[in-house]
Structure formats: structure tokens, C-alpha cells
């Protein structure tokens, strides 16, 4: 089993080595520390150790809310929808029901373009399980044309080499075919450079 006998079995002899430990102001003699047991997969398969296991069934349902629901329905139709505050005239993407600066309800829906500018980006070489990816993925924050400055979304870039991406690059959305769209942010496959090299 690959275990070391640390002498904790009641029948085996006491280990002679005694460590003196200072606890508070008293010196208390302590037994040698137990060496850890390395556990192998076989220990679990052959049940040479006792254990309990469980698969907790954790489910969730995330509701998008009023504004984002309409935004996602817009994506299904191939439109990027935004809300506008009549007081500060901001056009907000992703849309929200309230203007958080004026603290008043937003009062108009507007359609914005499916082009934008890369504000910042990151190149990811690993997947969520930290496994290397064959092709690196480029994620970017894109501010959308037609919306107020610095208003935008986080999405992927495509059809571009990682070393060709720069901040300020103009990009355009590449949509899924209309039949495959399902009202999710993934209805936009990725954003590709607008300029022709």
C-alpha cells in the first residue's frame, strides 16, 4: 500500500524520538509527528482505505433581467440594442433600465452598429481546466460604435493573428447564421478586423 508505519498502531513499540515543543511558557514533550500517507488511486479502487464520496447536484437558473432579455432577443435578430438616457444622453451597451449617473429610468431603445474598437485584449493559451489550447484565443473588450465612449462588451476576436492585434483596432461582428441563433451572447461568433490588410 506504500504506507510508512509511523508507530501509531497500539501494538507497535513507541518511537524513542521525542520533540520538545514550546507551547505558551511551558515545555511540553510531543510525540514525533505522524508522517502523511500518500494515497494512490488503487487505495480508493480496492477500498483499502475508508472514505465517503458524493456528487452534489448543484443546479442554477440565471435570469437575464428586463433590459438584457431584450438585448439578447435583439441578438437573435442580428441587432445590438442599447438604451439611452434622455438627461445625460448616454447610449448604454449592454443596456440597463436605469442610468446609474442620473439615477433615473432610461427611456429609449436605440440600435447601435455591429462594429467597434478594441479597448483592451488578452491572449489565452489555456482552457478553463488549464489545459493548453491548440489555437490561442483572443478575448477583448470592444467599445461599440454608436454607443457612448467606453461602452462595450467582452468578446472574442477571430480571423486575426495574436501578434497583429492592437488597442484601437476597428473590428466587426461575425454573426452565426440566423437559423442557429438562440438569443445568447454566443450568437456573435467572434469579431474580425474591419480593415483589409
Amino acid at each position: 500500500m506504500g504506507r510508512s508505519d509511523a508507530g501509531w498502531n497500539g501494538n507497535s513499540s513507541l518511537k524513542q524520538e521525542v520533540i520538545v515543543m514550546a507551547v505558551g511558557k511551558k515545555n511540553i514533550s510531543a510525540p514525533p509527528y505522524v508522517e502523511g500517507h500518500e494515497l494512490e488511486l488503487e487505495d480508493f479502487e480496492n477500498k483499502t482505505i475508508t472514505y465517503v464520496e458524493d456528487y452534489p447536484d448543484i443546479r442554477y437558473q440565471f435570469t437575464a433581467g428586463q433590459a438584457i432579455s431584450r438585448f439578447l432577443r435583439g441578438l437573435k435578430e442580428g441587432k445590438i440594442l442599447a438604451t439611452k438616457c434622455s438627461k445625460c444622453r448616454r447610449v448604454m451597451v449592454p443596456p440597463r433600465t436605469f442610468c446609474e449617473l442620473c439615477f433615473k429610468p432610461a427611456d429609449e431603445w436605440v440600435e447601435v452598429k455591429d462594429t467597434g474598437t478594441v479597448e483592451t485584449f488578452s491572449i489565452s493559451y489555456i482552457d478553463p481546466d488549464a489545459k493548453p489550447l491548440d489555437e490561442p484565443e483572443i478575448v477583448a473588450v470592444i467599445s461599440i460604435d454608436g454607443a457612448s465612449p467606453k461602452m462595450g462588451i467582452l468578446h472574442k476576436l477571430g480571423e486575426v493573428e495574436p501578434d497583429r492585434v492592437y488597442i484601437g483596432m476597428k473590428v466587426k461582428a461575425v454573426w452565426k447564421p440566423e437559423s442557429e441563433r438562440e438569443g445568447m451572447i454566443t450568437d456573435i461568433k467572434y469579431w474580425k478586423p474591419l480593415e483589409v490588410e
Binding site: Y55, R59, Q66, I68
Partner: protein, 157 residues
Amino acid sequence: MVFNEKIVNPAELRHVEGKIELYWVYTSGEAGDVFFKKLRDEGKFTASKCRKCGHVFFPPRIYCEFDFSETEYVEVSGEGCILAFSVVMYDPDGNRLENPEIYALIGMEGTDGKMIHLLGEIDPENIEIGMKVKPVLRPQDQREGKITDILYFKPVS
């Protein structure tokens, strides 16, 4: 559209369903392993006694937490007395149970330790604090080295 108009039909709201995959294993540890194997193979209970101060730990511990001395495993009867109990009328989802479950804190005979487990073969109104109880185990071929190998404790009569 003014946002004072609310969406009244919830079906118009987008929602996403998901499941979080989780799996965990909790090993019994050095002394827990001894306890559960003895319970599984021989149906006997193990405690551990400090070689210096004589405190008897149940569940067993590999060292004494009062003076850090070594302990030795001792066999105990598994019988005990009820120190406290609670009658559970609802399941974890809040549905009423057909047969209420009784959980009790049981002081184990011959040890300084206690354990929480189910009581059986007794009606809640007949339970008394201090009542002596003994364990009822699963048949040997069904035991798997878990705390559920003890089905419940029943009164000694």
C-alpha cells in the same frame, strides 16, 4: 418604450440553466480508518486512550490533544446513554416525514467521547435523558466502512 412598463410575462425574460459539476472524497484518516475497518470487519467499536493522562477519545484520535502524548487503541462496547435528543419532522426539502427521525447525542460507555446518531425501535414520547442504548449494525456482508454501517441505536431492555 419607457421602463415603467414592466415585462409582465416571465416567459419573455431570457434565462440560462446550468449545472455545477462537483465531486468530493473525504478520507477517514489514520484513526478513522482503524475505527471504520474494525466496525466493518468485526462489528466492534474502537476508542483511543492517552498513554499519559488516560483520556479516552471517541472517535479515536492519533494523539492526545491535551498533552500531545501518544494514544493506544482500545475496544469499547459501543453502548452508551442518551445525553440529548431531537425529533426531526421534516426532510431537508421541508416536506413532512411520514416517520419522524430521532437524532440523539450519545455518550459512549467507557470513553470521554460522544457521537450523534439515529435512535430506533422507540417512540419519541418514551425517550428519557440518561436512557441506555446499544447499536444495531447492518449485516456484515452489507457493511462498507461508513458511519451508516450503524443503522441506529436502540434501548437496552
